[in-house]
């Protein structure tokens, strides 16, 4: 394994790496480093924010125009991508396989449901609610306030789950998270009368959930009072989702290059060596869990507000695997990878498979979506374990064989 043929060798920067400016070349070299580093993200962000505009120009183009996702779909894609980037912190950075990420998504969604709906009929409390009469029953906080609350609440749940379980070895941890991922939806389904108290409204879920908005005061500068009642509702949800995603990506990139991020990667590569070097294992792992959960919670709360409801049927194990698939396809540990994998797979899930099915004349394609994702996971693992956009260090780890060598070859 140590002497791989040249074509597998990881010496040269990858094509994607050069593209992202790490290899450099030609005219780009003339620019100052900071500009070079930020050029591509800036272009991508600019293109993404103007998507609702330039999407219009292409709708007439045959095939390609028809494949472009609608703005509503794009919101869902971005929310899932946010979760993929969050999961990437846990799985990709710290190397902790989490098969129950959907639990965090659920926790975020229900935080929004509790704090911004008519669910609690006993109280009437408004704080920054938009588009509602003052006397509407229930707790109605501003969604802008709920997003951080949901993130922190979910991070606390992440810590509570993590504290007893993070001691466990990798595959045991995967199973425990899977167990939590199964228990939490069932708890949500059953918790409609805990000693007569209706916590989650059982299988019916909680809806409607309030919409984000800026209240009546800022209408003068063009900001809508409430997204749901706004004229171009989808666009506002899209731009806000994009801002959240940019925030998530920014945090995750900063974290990766921080002291904590280096500790995560050290743990991922060799736990014993990391501990010997003085990395506090439990605290570092718990941070990974809490931060991954934080973004999952924000994404869940925002999605619940977008859909105006939280339902237990949204929180299946499948979602956890779907998110994991995004991270793996994109390349574990790579933020760009998680973004590309997330956008691609959630597009396939929302629109792509159905459109492909129509193109090739098999209507059933979406029915087999999870088989297709399973196949993708297996193929990526077998033939390109670094994912589409490989993280440099992870690539070296996989290709140069940091792990123990076996005496007999697996292939012989």
């Amino acid at each position: 394994m140590a002497d791989l043929p040249e074509k597998f060798g990881g010496r040269q920067p990858s094509r994607v790496g050069r593209f992202l400016g790490s290899g450099g070349g030609g005219t780009l070299d003339a620019l100052p480093p900071i500009v070079r580093r930020l050029l591509l993200p800036a272009v991508v962000i600019l293109l993404a924010f103007t998507y609702p505009t330039w999407r219009e120009w292409f709708t007439e183009v045959p095939v390609f125009g028809g494949l472009l996702p609608g703005i509503g779909t794009a919101v869902i894609m971005i929310v899932f991508t946010m979760m993929a980037v969050g999961l990437n912190v846990v799985v990709g950075y710290a190397g902790l396989l989490d098969l129950g990420y959907v639990a965090f998504y659920a926790a975020g969604a229900y935080t929004a449901a509790w704090l911004a709906s008519r669910h609690y009929e006993q109280v009437t409390f408004h704080f920054g609610s938009v588009g509602l009469a003052e006397d509407v029953i229930g707790i109605h906080l501003s969604i802008w306030l709920i997003l951080p609350i949901a993130g922190i609440f979910t991070a606390i749940i992440g810590i509570l789950i993590g504290l007893p379980t993070l001691r466990l070895r990798g595959d045991y941890l995967a199973i425990v998270t899977l167990g939590f991922g199964e228990i939490i939806p069932q708890f949500v389904r059953n918790a409609d009368s805990i000693k007569g108290f209706n916590l989650t409204n059982g299988t019916f879920g909680i809806n409607p959930i309030d919409s984000p908005g800026f209240g009546s005061g800022l209408g003068a500068i063009g900001l809508p009072e409430s997204y749901q009642q706004s004229f171009d509702r989808a666009n506002w949800f899209y731009w806000t989702a994009l801002l959240l995603l940019v925030f998530t990506v920014f945090c995750c990139v900063q974290l990766r290059d921080s002291r904590l991020g280096r500790a995560w990667i050290a743990i991922r590569e060799d736990e014993t060596a990391a501990a010997a070097m003085g990395v506090p294992l439990m605290r570092t792992k718990t941070w990974a869990y809490a931060i991954g959960a934080f973004f999952g919670g924000i994404a869940g709360a925002y999605y619940a507000s977008f859909k105006s409801g939280a339902f237990p049927s949204d929180f299946f194990f499948n979602i956890s695997v779907f998110l994991l698939c995004m991270v793996i396809l994109g390349g574990m540990g790579s933020v760009w990878g998680a973004i590309v994998g997330g956008l691609f797979l959630s597009y396939l899930d929302q629109e792509g498979l159905a459109k492909i099915g129509t193109e090739i004349g098999i209507q059933d394609v979406p029915k087999y979506s999870f088989g297709i994702y399973g196949l993708l996971i297996v193929l990526v693992m077998l033939f390109r374990p670094t994912g589409l956009i490989a993280e440099r260090r992870h690539k070296r780890e996989l290709e140069e064989g940091v792990h123990d060598e076996s005496l007999y070859g697996a292939q012989h």
Partner: protein, 358 residues
């Protein structure tokens, strides 16, 4: 960090068999208290309605026997590769679906068939389902897991999850989305009675098929050359290879064995619960895995003990008249047990504590 301190259990003195169950920490005592409360609850129910209690007990025992067949597959593969073979549960479901095709479509059993036809039909279905799942298990190992044997362990685990979804969709394509059902083939007349509690033929059949399989398996692993090779490979793959054991063949054999058990389990599940579907294997796979962990993963008798305990817990939870949480909570309870065992006693009830286990 306090957590980094070695687990308190790793004392150099090896405790005796009985002493292993004496708790050595406050958490251990809490666990013991919890078990005591459960025993009290069971006792209270037993006194309230003994015949109901025992009939529930027998249902749980039979379900546990079916789970045991699947749990053994998890334990066998884990023992040798330290891989949680997620696809195993779906292999089980496909085995059951194949058996349902043999029984319903080929033999047309249903309604009120003669005893001879039932015996022949079940025997043929058993052979075909076992062979099918066995071949499927081996193929998956050959195609996917073998290439990843030197890769990081998570890679193989993730691949297994992917395989599980592929198998589910194969079931979906082949057998459709609706449940395959069958009228009970084996009468539920009472075969024998203990006191006023009857044990029916259909339950007896399940046990009559499971117990010999377990005995043969134990003999195979304990006393044959192949079993010795398996145990050697599970202890140290490299050393086994140096001793002239064909490691790849041994691992293939293990997967074939596990697959065969899954196939037989699939048939029994179909006969016993009368319905099976493409996604049955996912849920049951998790239950069976929990059973294997409960007993001590890698330990054959542990898997059987764990499976029977899980079968009993499920039935007691759903059936007992006094203070039982009810079927809404069954899955939560099973997974709660899984989490508690992994966190507090990762070596399971019968397993040995390994350095990495804690």
């Amino acid at each position: 960090m306090a957590e980094e301190a070695a687990p308190t259990e790793s004392s150099p003195l090896r405790p005796g068999r009985a002493a292993r169950f004496i708790p050595r920490s406050p958490v251990g005592w809490l666990g013991l208290l919890f078990v005591a409360l459960i025993v009290l609850w069971l006792g209270r129910n037993l006194v309230a309605d003994p015949s109901e209690f025992f009939s529930i007990f027998f249902i749980g025992l039979t379900n546990g026997a079916v789970y045991a067949l699947v749990a053994l597959g998890y334990t066998l593969v884990y023992g040798i590769l330290q891989l949680i073979n997620f696809a195993h549960g779906d292999n089980f479901a496909l085995g059951g679906l194949v058996a349902s095709t043999v029984i319903v479509s080929w033999f047309g059993l249903g309604g009120d068939p003669s005893t001879g036809a039932v015996v022949v039909g079940i025997a043929v279905a058993l052979v075909i389902a076992t062979a099918f799942s066995s071949a499927l298990g081996t193929t998956i190992e050959l195609v996917a897991y073998r290439r990843l044997r030197n890769a990081p362990r998570l890679a193989a685990l993730i691949t297994a999850v992917g395989m599980s979804f592929i198998l589910q969709d194969i079931g979906l394509v082949g057998w459709g989305v609706s449940f395959r059902t069958i009228d009970p083939l084996i009468s539920n007349d009472v075969a024998f009675s203990i006191g006023d509690v009857g044990f029916q033929w259909n339950k007896l059949t399940v046990l009559a098929l499971t117990v010999p399989v377990l005995l043969v398996l134990t003999w195979l692993v304990r006393s044959t050359k192949q079993g010795k090779a398996m145990r050697a490979t599970s202890m140290d793959m490299d050393a086994a290879a140096m001793m002239g054991i064909n490691v790849n063949r041994t691992i293939s054999f293990t997967f074939a064995l596990a697959g065969g058990l899954a196939g037989a389990g699939g048939l029994l599940y179909f006969l016993h619960f009368s319905s099976i579907r493409y996604d049955t294997g996912f849920q049951l796979g998790l239950i069976a895995f929990t059973a294997a962990v409960l007993g001590g993963i890698g330990n054959l008798s542990g898997a059987v003990l764990g499976a029977i305990l899980i079968g009993l817990i499920e039935q007691f939870n759903e059936g007992l008249p006094l203070w039982s949480p009810g079927s809404d909570w069954t899955r939560s309870i099973v997974f709660g047990i899984l989490i508690a065992i992994l966190v507090f006693r990762p070596e399971g009830l019968l397993g040995e504590r390994t350095p990495e286990g804690g």
